[in-house]
């Protein structure tokens, strides 16, 4: 087993259940795992856990577009639930454009069309972009509007994630006090 003397190793495994897609196929994507690992490495405070490994397992049960963004958001929540210190949330969102009209959060049908798909993950407090991935073609003139739309989407996701965490923590505190 690999081990680093001064920090934790992050291991990400991504799996798609065979019944999750319209045509059945079992997919384990290494590329997606690797992107997620690189996304979280600078965010989790790995120096607090030398000679250890943090495993992140992602399982898709039902697929309708936006794998990477769903995985990143889920991983953020799971890491917070696990109590691992991070410098900020990581919120991800996809955007594309159909007929020059920017659209946010593409589903499977939209992904399969000729729309480009841009996935952006940002750290909401600073607005810094942690991950940016794009597939298909997008004209550089349209890029800014699509990227801005994705960032806006990330902001909205951040509000939701934060609210969920706060509600849950309040619930836990209440239970602890009883």
């Amino acid at each position: 087993m690999n081990m680093l003397h001064d920090r934790a190793i992050i291991n990400v495994e991504f799996n798609m259940a065979p019944f999750s897609t319209a045509e059945r196929k079992k997919r384990r994507s290494l590329e997606l795992s690797s992107s997620i690992k690189q996304t979280f490495e600078p965010v989790i405070k790995t120096t607090l856990y030398p000679r250890s490994q943090i495993d992140i397992y992602l399982q898709i049960l039902q697929h309708d577009g936006g794998d990477l963004q769903a995985c990143i958001n889920a991983a953020t929540l799971a890491l917070i639930d696990a109590g691992l210190p991070m410098i900020d949330y990581v919120c991800a969102c996809t955007a594309g454009s159909i007929d020059k009209e920017p659209i946010v959060d593409l589903n499977h049908v939209e992904e399969s069309s000729d729309s480009p798909e841009l996935t952006v993950a940002i750290l909401p407090k600073t607005g810094k972009v942690n991950l940016l991935q794009m597939e298909s073609r997008l004209h550089v003139d349209n890029f800014e509007s699509v990227a801005n739309l994705a960032s806006e989407g990330c902001e909205n996701i951040y509000q939701i994630l934060d609210q969920v965490i706060r509600d849950r923590t309040k619930g836990l505190l209440k239970q602890m006090k009883q």
Binding site: N15, A17, S20, Y57, Q62
Partner: protein
């Protein structure tokens, strides 16, 4: 302080720890020896699958998804469809006399418990897959000829995948219940239908099942007819299993993970809707622990469990909504 001591005791002397509880006819989680943990059934949650079901027994959660595809039948059985494992492709252009090992696929991955590693299926996963396969095949739960579209040319293949989301023992009961419930799931394209006039031996309280689109076959192409009513499969038997562990000479129903790892022997009894024995499986232990009386007791408990589960499944299917949950707790008294 007291809880720390108990925790330490549990770790260094697990057998002794459990024995002290069991001798008082109770288990560390407060259950009596014959009680099951709270069971929850949730059907139709996955809209991308033809049929799906999620079962929770205590801390063990499994989800089963069924997908139907068209394939060429095996040469040896030209008018039968099949349940297939993850990777088999049926190419009947290659005459093969060997039957494929058609197995519902059970996946036990690190996401459900740290005791599993990622990679090829572990021994336990393979054993669970084979268990499900045996029950479905040998008990003739499905009639494979129902899956035929056009003999020798096209048949339905049902891919069943069972995924364990959290593991706390007794994955066999949960998987079988999930698989059977997923096969019973009306699917998202529920259409009103007349009751099947083929007389199955199943009581009419279980409604028709995985709905496959009506298809025609001509010139090597299978076409789905959107306007025609869907084809229905029939489950000829509804098996439900009960797993018991023998620990400190006592029978524990529905063992948790801790109890499973300490148990000397394990028995799994599968009963169908008429109280007939589908399958019995006993592993481990020396010859002095499980006497015929013990096995009789196992079968009795399995019968009682069947009653509970049947009530739950019936309640779950009474409402014609796509997603429903029914739960059976451990308040039911065992009838001796």
């Amino acid at each position: 302080m007291a809880t720390d001591n108990a925790d330490v005791f549990r770790r260094i002397q697990p057998h002794e720890y459990f024995r002290r509880f069991i001798e008082q006819n109770v288990r560390p989680d407060g259950r009596q020896l014959h009680k099951f943990r709270k069971t929850t059934l949730n059907v139709g949650a996955i809209s991308t699958a033809n049929g799906s079901a999620m079962v929770r027994i205590g801390g063990t959660t499994v989800i089963c998804g069924i997908k139907a595809e068209v394939a060429e039948p095996k040469i040896s059985t030209p008018d039968e469809g099949f349940l297939d494992p993850a990777h088999v492709q049926a190419h009947s252009s290659y005459a093969t006399q060997h039957a494929y090992i058609s197995v519902p696929n059970v996946e036990l991955s690190p996401i459900c418990s740290p005791k599993f590693r990622s990679g090829p299926p572990s021994e336990q996963a393979q054993v669970a897959s084979e268990f499900l396969n045996k029950i479905i095949k040998i008990s003739k739960v499905l009639s494979l000829t129902d899956l035929c579209i056009e003999p020798s040319k096209a048949v339905w293949v049902l891919y069943a995948d069972v995924l364990c989301l959290s593991y706390d023992g007794n994955v066999l009961d949960a998987s079988l219940l999930a698989l059977v419930s997923a096969l019973l799931d009306p699917g998202i394209m529920s259409l009103p239908y007349p009751m099947a006039n083929r007389a199955p031996s199943v009581s009419n309280s279980f409604p028709p099942l995985v709905q496959l689109p009506k298809v025609t076959y001509s010139e090597g192409i299978v076409r789905a007819l959107a306007d025609e009513p869907v084809t229905r499969l029939t489950l000829y038997r509804i098996p439900v299993s009960t797993t018991l562990s023998l620990l400190a000479k006592r029978l524990l129903s529905d063992p948790s993970d801790a109890e499973e790892s300490l148990a000397d022997e394990q028995v799994t009894v599968t009963i169908d809707e008429r109280g007939r024995l589908c399958h019995i499986w006993k592993v481990g232990g020396g010859s002095n622990t499980a006497t015929p009386d013990v096995l009789k007791e196992c079968i009795q408990r399995a019968r009682a469990r069947y009653g509970d589960v049947k009530g739950m499944v019936e309640r779950a299917f009474k409402e014609r909504r796509v997603v429903f949950v029914a739960s059976v707790g451990d308040e039911t008294e065992m009838d001796t």
